[in-house]
Symmetry: C2
Amino acid sequence: MSAINARNTHPLIRKLETVFPLSDEERKAILALPIDQRVIEAHQDIVREGDRPSRSFVIADGVACAFKMTGEGKRQILAFHITGDMPDLQSLHLQTLDISIGTITACKVGFIQHEDLQRLCERQARVAAALWRETLIYAAMFREWITNIGRRQALGRAAHFMCEYIVRARAMGLVEDYSCELPITQEELSDAMGLSIVHVNRVLQELRKLGLINLESRHLTVLDWTGSRKSETSTRDTSTCRRRPRSVTPLRQTAARTDEQRAAHEPLRPSAIPETALGQVGILHSLKNAAAGESSFVSSAPPIS
Amino acid sequence: MSAINARNTHPLIRKLETVFPLSDEERKAILALPIDQRVIEAHQDIVREGDRPSRSFVIADGVACAFKMTGEGKRQILAFHITGDMPDLQSLHLQTLDISIGTITACKVGFIQHEDLQRLCERQARVAAALWRETLIYAAMFREWITNIGRRQALGRAAHFMCEYIVRARAMGLVEDYSCELPITQEELSDAMGLSIVHVNRVLQELRKLGLINLESRHLTVLDWTGSRKSETSTRDTSTCRRRPRSVTPLRQTAARTDEQRAAHEPLRPSAIPETALGQVGILHSLKNAAAGESSFVSSAPPIS
DNA sequence: CGTCAACTTGAAGGTTATCAAGGCATGTGG
DNA sequence: CCACATGCCTTGATAACCTTCAAGTTGACG
């Protein structure tokens, strides 16, 4: 809310400018898009699996989520969407939606007709590319999400989630001092992380006890971003990796963070501490890549003091 | 192998034609792409997390996988890629790779320079859209994968996986009578499904015991696709869904399969049996949506007798 | 002051991981 | 042709992690 109305710009422009600065012409073209703005109250579905929307939408304010239901009636939340996101941008090319999107908090939502977007894309090639890129970034987030759920246990999973969320919020300027609104209930968190509510509750308490996060009245603060309390780098031992013995470097991820990449983001780089702590290795790395291929994603956000 | 060499066409053309028929001009443009074909042996990385490739590649034959490594050295496989796939197409717009891609079997791989692809996209708008769509389909697969790992337990997870794999293979014409090659070890399966090897082994045996699949010497057959052994539709009861009580229709997925969609795919439609059986509800539904928005994805494959 | 949603806690049981060992096929060199 | 190694699959026992059930607490709000 606050930060958003402060900068009174078109959410789409803000979003795209986290990638590259727009030309006047491009900006004008976006501002010319007919937008149908609405407020949708909390806990409502905006679109549903199986719909064939003729328009997409931007979230101008609030938090929404994309989810699927299992045949058994279990819900899996796939992503939380914040200001500037276009959660169903894919429907521009994929007619039938494979996900539902619902609000978490009340949301200000701007609907844009597909035809208008299509026309914009035809005329402004760079904008088209930026939108494509946007969908690719979502895909990268999904990959991160899979890895988190598939290969980390509850504590690390929650820690990772918090980091990821705050990095994303930061890119939209919603973070100050590693601190942001997190208007998401534990039930919703559990559906996002593939855990039970009860266990999420316990894990969050554990994170608090470890002095890693502060989470109260829907406000999240990451206390130990840099991983000052590292519990030894010992886990980073080759012997840990039983799998894939033929591979040249099983712990490839470590190697993948080149010095160049490291240097570019020093202030935000989490340390190489093991799963149990915040500041998890993979997070920024992937998100950063995903976001901009480059530094722009992170560095376009206001610097953390 | 067999089926691929039989139809001796450009893998990219075959792939794109699962979406819509190409014009002669488009076909010519694709055939004119300079491609660097190579054979890469099994269990080798093709590209790695952190790389900044200047080219993408098509898999002309064989199976590869996209994966990430955790800080702890655990591997999560995100997708298996078969003939016709372009696993790192995203690198066309996202400079730094957030995943590694390695071969499972020996692969015939065709590398295409980004500049050439870019030029193709500029000149053939429909091809550009098709490629964009291709990346969107991958994203839909990732979403399906998240749901599978996050909200299903081992047996259903494995069942779902088998269905998904065979549907994908089928779209490339690699399936006959619900039967295809599955040259993937249990270890690799475990990294894909977020389980331990031991447990994957047990779950596969369970599926065999239930008479749902046949899996030996790297050949998979789905025996009970239609779910003839349904164990009552009883799970489809509203009371099952404790979560999200405010939502209008919690079991939205059911409703989402409209009659129209149903009719279009009757022969392949899995029944609405619970998690424990193959022919899991979500699979075709999402994949189908993801794939074509329409029927084309599935129906372009040779019909199952 | 009562209600409701969200959060919290304890106890019990189920699913899945881990450890350890054995089996079976394939391939290689002597 | 046999000994040996290697990769993959299999099995049993034990323990850890997480879910479920059941109940209680807290805070916001009318």
